[in-house]
């Protein structure tokens, strides 16, 4: 088990290093970094000063190692546009993204679990088809399209909810609903499959034989067993939500990491973009490592390979 974890850890560190090289390269391949830093209409002397102060005249490998050492100490550089340290910027934005991710996940689960249970209990019937249809729609509908529809209905026509910003909890509702519905299908499918499997088990027949009412047999005896794999999917989707909400945060101008990434692309604010890319990639690396370890703990057969 320990050897397995160490192997996985070693692999994760390698992946992280590769990601850091790519993130570092991002700042260099976009043309002349110094002239980008100096801005339009800068003189040749200004650019020369910037080259010297930023160490851009040194070999690339030295630049990379210096940058990496800084990153490891939490120094991610300074934003060109916001004129603030990137680390500080990220810390101020990540809260909104995490709130959005958790709200979306909660919405997805409150949708997916009842739909999946209904579909499994009435599998093959029209109820199953309706439930599966609702979830399939979530997968087929582009999230930006749903977002715009929701804004038109709830923000413009009904004037119930704000369309953009992140000032109050109401600002989170529309983006969370959009994202939550978008990630519902995989959860729903997993709950449905798990429930169909659980309902065919002998312990369900035992519970029925005891005279326990059907709803209790389904919701207690079967659902409890069907939810085990769902917990695994939650970790995966959480990573996806933290990294993948760029579009939604941008549409709703919700001031989170995704929106920050979007802005930094627009302003060619490369230190920020670099840091966001690095951070999101690392979130994935860590979550993958975590799920590997949890799986190995759940299933001893995995530890060998």
């Amino acid at each position: 088990m320990l050897i397995y974890i160490l192997k996985r850890l070693g692999l994760a560190v390698l992946v992280a290093l590769c990601v850091s090289v790519l993130a570092f390269a991002l700042l260099r391949v976009q043309g002349n970094a110094a002239s980008a830093l100096a801005g339009e209409g800068a003189s040749a002397e200004d650019i020369a000063i910037i080259i010297r102060t930023h160490g851009l005249d040194r070999p690339v490998v030295v630049q990379y190692l210096t940058w990496l050492a800084n990153v490891l100490q939490g120094d991610l550089g300074t934003s060109y546009f916001f004129k603030r340290p990137v680390a500080e910027l990220i810390v101020s934005k990540i809260g909104n993204t995490v709130i959005l991710a958790i709200m979306s996940l909660a919405i997805a689960l409150t949708l997916a679990v009842p739909l999946g249970v209904l579909a499994a209990v009435y599998s093959g019937s029209w109820i199953d088809r309706i439930c599966s249809g609702i979830s399939l729609l979530g997968q087929a509908l582009p999230s930006f399209f749903l977002a715009l529809c929701l804004v038109m209905l709830f923000a413009i026509h009904l004037r119930l909810l704000p369309a953009s910003g992140a000032q109050t909890w109401q600002h989170f509702i529309l983006p969370a609903v959009t994202l939550g519905y978008y990630i519902t299908p995989p959860f729903m499918r997993l709950v449905r499959a798990g429930m169909i499997d659980a309902l065919s088990n002998d312990y369900v027949r035992t519970a029925r034989a005891k005279g326990i009412p059907s709803h209790k047999v389904v919701l207690k005896h079967a659902l409890r067993n069907a939810l085990v794999p769902v917990v695994g999917l939650v970790t995966v989707q959480l990573g996806l939500l933290i990294g993948g909400s760029v579009v939604i945060e941008s549409i709703f101008a919700l001031d989170g990491l995704g929106y920050l990434a979007y802005q930094s692309i627009g302003y060619r604010d490369f230190p920020v973009l670099q840091a966001v890319v690095l951070l999101l990639s690392l979130v994935y690396v860590v979550l993958t490592l975590l799920s590997d370890v949890v799986n190995a703990w759940l299933d001893p057969r995995l530890r060998v390979s």
């Binding site: 312990y203 035992t206 519970a207 034989a209 005891k210 005279g211 409890r224 067993n225």
Partner: protein
């Protein structure tokens, strides 16, 4: 003693792409209070379907019908009334103790569930009853067991837990569907002894379903032999084993290996032929395709012979001693 359970013309039909599979074909029998009725027959003869039909636990594709389905003056065809009986006055244990308990809940929770549902009362009272029942089925330190999960128990212990669970509500009838088949031989003997002791101590009626005639001789008051979804012979254990009348019963008994009588090295007895397809009607005797005594009359309606105590379905009224030895 009056009949506790009365079943008249019980049928179980399963729709299949090839036609209607008639798993149980008009079964009529009764169980008296406190007696053990064994239902015997080979795989697919409809004995398990019968037990599931009594408990209303048939899979969704199977349809149940009966002229009479009465338990202690309650009509079991009325599902609302049946729900109050099931798991309360009528309990069931199953073949596979390894999978019959829910892996996600401690056994204390599963033991008290039916009791709390049917009898009400406090959680503490239910747990006290659970401890009492675990003790009754011979499980040591029962109070500590309540917190354990099924995977922490062996197969034999789990079947004991299942029995304790069935007894929680003090049922009048216990249906045991091959309760010892999945256990190894020594545990089988223990569970069988336990069931017999409990039956005598508590005076509950038992429907014991098995394919093992050897077990039947040890526990049955009465025996019903089933073949292809129908009853072929029914009687007291003494009648069935002492003077079997139906050729199928005779052949089955011939197949039981007996220490001392069955010679070492000889092949075990078998009945030649295969069970007929259960799809559609079977005209005449269900056993005639494998019966060594089959003749023309067997193809048309076959009468049920004998008095109330001992019944068999055959064209022959007399015993058929000629059959002895032909199956070896």
């Amino acid at each position: 003693m009056g009949a506790l359970l009365t079943v008249d013309d019980l049928r179980v039909d399963i729709a299949t792409p090839r036609g209607t599979l008639r798993a149980v074909r008009g079964l009529t029998f009764s169980v008296n209070a406190g007696e053990t009725l064994c239902i015997v027959g080979e795989s697919g003869c409809g004995k398990s379907m019968t037990s599931l039909a009594l408990m209303d636990l048939l899979p969704r594709v199977a349809k149940r019908s009966a002229a009479t389905l009465n338990f202690a003056d309650t009509d079991l065809s009325d599902r609302r009334k049946a729900r109050r009986i099931r798991g309360n006055q009528m309990a069931m244990i199953f073949q596979e103790p390894m999978t019959a308990l829910n892996p996600a809940f401690p056994i204390g929770d599963q033991l008290t569930e039916a009791y709390l549902h049917h009898k009400g009362g406090s959680r503490a009272a239910a747990r006290a009853r659970a401890v009492e029942m675990l003790d009754l089925v011979g499980i040591g330190s029962p109070a500590e067991r309540l917190g354990q999960y099924p995977h922490q128990l062996s197969g034999g212990l789990r079947q004991r837990v299942m029995i304790a669970m069935a007894l929680m509500t003090d049922p009048k009838l216990l249906i045991a569907d091959e309760p010892t088949t999945a256990l190894d031989v020594t545990i089988q003997a223990q569970i069988l002894r336990l069931l017999r002791d409990l039956q005598q101590k508590l005076g509950i009626a038992v429907i014991f379903i098995t394919h093992d005639l050897g077990l039947v001789s040890r526990i049955a008051d009465r025996v019903m032999v089933m073949y292809a979804g129908a009853m072929v012979e029914e009687g007291t254990a003494a009648q069935i084993f002492g003077a079997p009348r139906h050729p199928y019963t005779q052949a089955l008994i011939e197949c039981i290996p007996q220490p001392g009588r069955t010679a070492r090295g000889t092949p075990l007895g078998t009945i030649p032929g295969v069970v007929p397809s259960l799809v559609g009607q079977i005209e005449g005797c269900v056993f005639r395709s494998r019966c060594p005594l089959a003749r023309r009359e067997c193809e048309s309606h076959v009468p049920t012979r004998g008095a109330e105590g001992h019944r068999w379905v055959c064209v022959d009224d007399a015993p058929a001693p000629a059959l002895e030895g032909t199956t070896r």
